[in-house]
């Protein structure tokens, strides 16, 4: 597992498929260009299996090759990647034990994004695929503002409600729309001087944890997220922060 390579039909054969369009005319030289591109990625024995003109000057390729690169799977920290989520009752129990009051959660699909099915899945009573949303938990006080909510309106509400966790959803990502919207939101929260008082969480089918952190969020959730994943994170993190605060405070005394 220290040198994991793609597998087609033999261990370590490195077989992988690529498909892409090149803005070149559909001639034999186009195949060569596709092959060279694969070689530039380090692939060995690249082979064009399919090649087709889309319109003048654009050619589509399906290509197979062998990838000699490998990944050290043992080096990927499973603990960080794989926090085992608590179940619904465990979360309630944990909250009862570690938290002194309900966590105030405010959620929305922001900017011009009208996709609300994702945030509804996390927040609404009905939840997702048989799992209740945060509304169903005793541990949370939940406010779902819906879709197309402007950052301005959201920040206003968050400050009014003294939210402990802000949950935003973004689905439309074309031309990096979400990046601008999310960055703007973080700036507004920071400008309010209250960033430290809340968890900033974002989610959506094409949001990754890496991206979320890069943008200044505490965490990001993607496809396959269930409400209890998010709830686990919130109660654990809130408890941890409270604990470290108490520590800091007592240390300061």
């Amino acid at each position: 597992m220290t040198a994991v390579r793609p597998y087609g039909d033999h261990y370590d054969d490195g077989l992988i498929e690529l498909s892409f369009t090149l803005p070149v005319p559909s001639r034999r030289s186009a195949r060569k260009a596709a092959t060279m591109l694969a070689e530039a990625m380090g692939l060995e024995a690249p082979e064009v299996a399919h090649c087709e003109e889309l319109t003048e000057g654009f050619t589509f390729f399906v290509l197979y090759g062998r990838c000699p690169h490998s990944v050290d799977f043992t080096a990927i920290d499973d603990a960080e990647w794989e926090p085992v989520p608590l179940s619904e009752p465990e979360i309630e129990e944990f909250a009862a034990e570690h938290l002194t009051r309900k966590v105030v959660v405010v959620g929305a699909s922001v900017g011009t994004d009208t996709h609300t099915v994702g945030i509804d899945a996390i927040l609404n009573l009905k939840g997702f695929d048989g799992s209740h949303g945060l509304e169903a938990y005793g541990a949370f006080e939940t406010h779902n503002l819906g879709g197309q909510v402007s950052n301005e309106a959201l920040v206003r509400t968050v400050l009014e409600l003294e939210a402990d966790a802000l949950l935003v959803s973004q689905t439309v990502t074309q031309q990096e729309l979400h990046v601008g919207t999310l960055r703007d939101l973080v700036e507004r929260i920071e400008a309010s001087g209250r960033r430290g008082e809340m968890l900033l969480i974002c989610g959506g089918p094409r949001i990754t944890n890496d991206l979320a952190r890069e943008l200044g969020f505490d965490v990001g959730f993607s496809k396959g997220t269930y409400p209890h994943h998010v709830a686990s994170y919130i109660v654990r993190e809130t408890a941890a922060r409270a604990a470290s605060e108490t520590e800091t405070t007592s240390a300061a005394l």
Binding site: S19, T21, E52, E53, L54, T55, E56, F58, F60, T112, D113, T114, V117, G146, G147, Q148, V172, T173, Q174, Q175, L177, P205, R206, K223
Partner: protein, 531 residues
Amino acid sequence: MASTGSKLDLDAGLVDGCRQAAAAVAEGVAERIAGCTTVSVERMVVRMLGVDGVDRFETPLPNVVVDHVHHQGKLDRGIAFWLGGAMARTGLSAQQLAEGVAAGELDLCNPDGADPEQGIKAASEATAEALAAIHRDRAQRGGWISQLDDAAADRPQRYVLTATGNVYEDVRHAEAVADHGGDTIAVIRSTAQSLLDYVPFGPTEVGHGGTFATQQNFRIMRDALDAWSCENGRYMRLSSFCSGLCMPEIAAIGAIEGLDNMVNDALYGILYRDIHMRRTLIDQSVSRRINGYAGIVINTGEDSYLRTADPVESAPSVVASQLINYNLARSYGVPDEQIAIGNAFEIDMSVENGLLLEWAQAQLTRELFPECPVKFMPPTKHMNGNPFRTHACDTLFNLVTVATNQDMQTIGVPTEGVFTPHIHDRVLGLESVEYAAVTARDLGDEIEFKRGGIIQSRADEVLRGAAELLEEIVADGLFAALERGRFGNIERREDQGRGIEGIVECGEDYFNPVIAQMEVGAPGVESGMYV
């Protein structure tokens, strides 16, 4: 259109009942919106009178002009009244006047020594000229089209979206689509557009999730498609979306720029864009009037309900809505041949016999609207990141499309569950459409459904559900149904929603020459000219 005889053995009495109920619902709506106009309706008039362009803050001049009058509380007479008056008074064109207003040099509502009759005459004449120009252009286009091939003449029309966010890239995608047998290009709009209470100006190079519907973008794509059609001898249609806060204006721009098709749903703005009910219903009435007049085919949007509600359970609401949408369109002068009824293939592959249910519903739509084109949309709700799964589902969708003799189909793309498609995704989608269209060409005529089998029973069940829902709506009104979340599981409040501030009560002497003249009908405009 519909070449198939009835396969579903529908209860004719039930069908009639549904039709009558839907007509009654449409009448109820007409009452609720009577005597009102909106800022967008008025801006449409300004555009028809020839105003275009933006001021130095990039505000479109139609907005400048209408806001100018609206802020003075005088829109109740209709913008044409004021603009016509000023035209008569000054001898300036509407465009010159608009520029004057933008420069702050002119007050349209200060009719220093003006004669209202003269103004009304001026506006009426200008309108007549504008409509005649539209009519002339479209007739000319119609003549040209009739000399070209129409691949969709004997198979479902292939409706393909482009959504790059850059109109010049959209053109590239459109060319690939045309080269691979697409019939219609619909440029998806940038995500914010429905919420904008103005129509953006100029060509778009950075849109998100799509490219703005602007007059310039329409023209760029129209020119590109016309060039392709000339070169290849086959006509490529152009489509866009009327939906949002600017339905009437966009319809007008579409008429002017020679579009063939526009998505125009009576309820989409309310349900999916949180637009105020009355605002949208007024706007749709006018925009459909324009679409109808200009020979543009409209498409209803029931497909969306199947994406936010459970597609098996919400089937009756789709049928009820189709009938309501249809009747609303008819009330504003859209003939059957121009009303494409929407439906979608959204039942998850894991539902046992889901294909049979889809088949029943597609056939039901086909049979309920024998004189209308029916438009079938591909699976999207349950499509995930596995492009092979999506492609397989699309292939089954394509088969049902052919087997139920749909007139139009949006094509599915393998990356539907991931992003707005890359150039080859559309070509792959079109290829699967072609396989089904050829290999299963006459499947619809070839098979019959078992009497009382799953398909016939499902159609009956859905129709009964629709009848019940329609009865409820006849009793309580469409607004109540929307409040109860009857469509797409989305609940909207009658007193909330965007754009309410743009509704204006018409005065007794409200004047709108565009609607007035369109109601009369154009000289010799044949309906369904571009169908």
